[in-house]
Amino acid sequence: MTPASAFSNTRASYLAMALLLTLLCGVSLFVGTADLPWAGNWLDREALKILLISRLPRTAAAVLTGSSMAVAGIIMQLLVRNRFVEPGTTGTTEAAMLGLLLVTLLAPSTPIFLKMVIAAISALIGMGGFLLLARRLPPSQPLLVPLVGLIYGGIIGAGVIFIAYQADMLQYLAVWMSGEFSGVLAGRYELLWLAGAMAVLAYFAADQFTIAGLGKSAGVSLGLNYGQVMALGLLTVSMVTALVVVTIGMVPFVGLVVPNIVSRFMGDNLRANLPIVAGLGGILVLASDIIGRVVRFPYEIPAGTIFGVFGATIFLWLLLSRPARAS
């Protein structure tokens, strides 16, 4: 393959991704419990209201969640230099929940934005702790990193459950842990745009993240400001995690599965990759939400559950089949 054809392949994937996303958004707008009444050839007032208050926000929320979490996943993988980590498997999500739980417990009337900030700070500390742990692990044992992450997250998670149990707040945890879009209405999801903005911001530092993924020596040799990149990455991942936990609830595996699929076909050069990672994240989460709406119509299954099932399967397949390819 020549560089030129690699380039046109990238362009073709961007185009395919955009088409598929638009198509799914269209489907998402017209699938749901309430039928959209038609007046002649055009939607009537009532339908427009459903569309603007419920369907459009719900669709946007699913896409924003999927995209930003996929981006958070790949950034974390580059910073840790390990394919098998994401916020949900390294204690970051649990730390965000811990912050959120404590603030809900101690100051229940705190405005949502402030709660999100506290959850983000808590997530930042949790992720920082994991990075310190991961640094001590031998790079020759890549599977040790996610294992330690799971244990670390498990410990924080156990603390969260203990506090929630004592305070009789377990039902909150259930909401934060299972990503679900049925409750999304205009006015209750807009914080997610901030997560989307963080993902866009990350694109401007795409080269820096890719270089950080080459390792510390390569980074220093190329004159990369390692601390700055680390800080930006930490900020992006913890903000996105906190925002998603606060508004939608955790959607497991997105940050793990999506970057791994994309990496498989396109590699890890973030400059070319990031739009695909974000697009595919949005597509898969939105598709999960749509499937959740139709399989047991008129009841709904949370998108997080659907994605969990498919995500785990895809991930196993990725783990077990190595790519065979020659040019």
Binding site: A218, V220, L224, S263
Partner: protein, 255 residues
């Protein structure tokens, strides 16, 4: 010139480098030789600011390594480390392209693409340029990392055992290339400082030799002075014969 002044390096109570005072002249290609564990990589890493300096000072053509902004050093000096483990999947061309990052810090310009093309061609990588690194053999990967260092286009190039994993064809080609770039171009060519174990490559291609042993500079000078039977036998604590081939030393260490 790289000047190293009063450099000590300790890990715990182990003294890895002891009072190193050394000037690397702008002589073309300088080879560092010495037994395993002598401190060659440590010294190279200190010069390239990959490890923090504990005592003393190092300057590259007058720029103090400890005080000059790292982005500025990246335009004056490149290093290809002994161990290059990369977890992410990059295409060879993209990897080599990142060697140009210190110069553009954004999008590659035409001169960057040209430098990448040259580096790919120089290390016989054109036919693999669209492959992912993890789809290459060990020697091909090694060449890709060296090409990345070359593409960085710096006045100083530090190579830590660049011949690792290379077959004799590519090993000789690499040394020829190093020799070539240290002579061509403006301002007397680019300076190369490299750790090499294969002593006959040093004999054939190096302009200056520094020998380290147990954290100290044991010998330094022209290849003909250093690569003698007495000096090498002492350095490596083994019996080494040196003969001559086309006016250059030929070291017989394998029998």
């Amino acid at each position: 010139m790289i000047s190293i002044r009063d450099v000590n390096h300790n890990i715990g109570s182990a003294r890895i480098l002891k009072d190193i005072n050394l000037d690397i002249p702008r002589a073309g290609a300088t080879a560092i030789i010495g037994p395993n564990g002598a401190g060659k990589s440590t010294l190279l890493n200190l010069v390239a600011r990959l490890q923090p300096l504990q005592t003393g000072s190092i300057s590259i053509d007058g720029q103090d390594v400890g005080k000059t902004p790292t982005a500025q050093i990246a335009k004056a000096l490149a290093i290809v480390s002994q161990q290059n483990f990369v977890a992410s999947r990059l295409r060879v061309r993209d990897l080599v392209g990142f060697g140009r990052w210190p110069h553009h810090r954004g999008r590659m310009g035409p001169e960057d693409h040209e430098a990448v093309d040259q580096a790919l061609a120089a290390f016989d990588l054109l036919s693999f340029q669209s492959r992912f690194l993890d789809e290459l053999s060990g020697g091909q990967q090694q060449r890709a990392f060296v090409a990345m260092g070359f593409a960085q286009g710096t006045d100083w190039l530090l190579l830590d055992e660049p011949l690792n994993n290379l077959d004799m064809f590519h090993a000789r080609a690499l040394m020829k290339r190093v020799h070539g770039v240290s002579r061509s171009g403006a301002a007397g060519g680019r300076q190369v400082l490299m750790v090499v174990h294969e002593i006959n490559y040093v004999a054939a291609w190096a302009d200056h030799v520094v020998a380290l042993r147990e954290g100290e500079v044991a010998l330094q000078g022209a290849p003909e002075e250093i690569l003698t039977s007495a000096a090498l036998s002492g350095l490596y604590e083994m019996d080494i014969q040196v003969s001559e081939h086309q006016g250059r030393p030929l070291v017989l260490h394998h029998v």
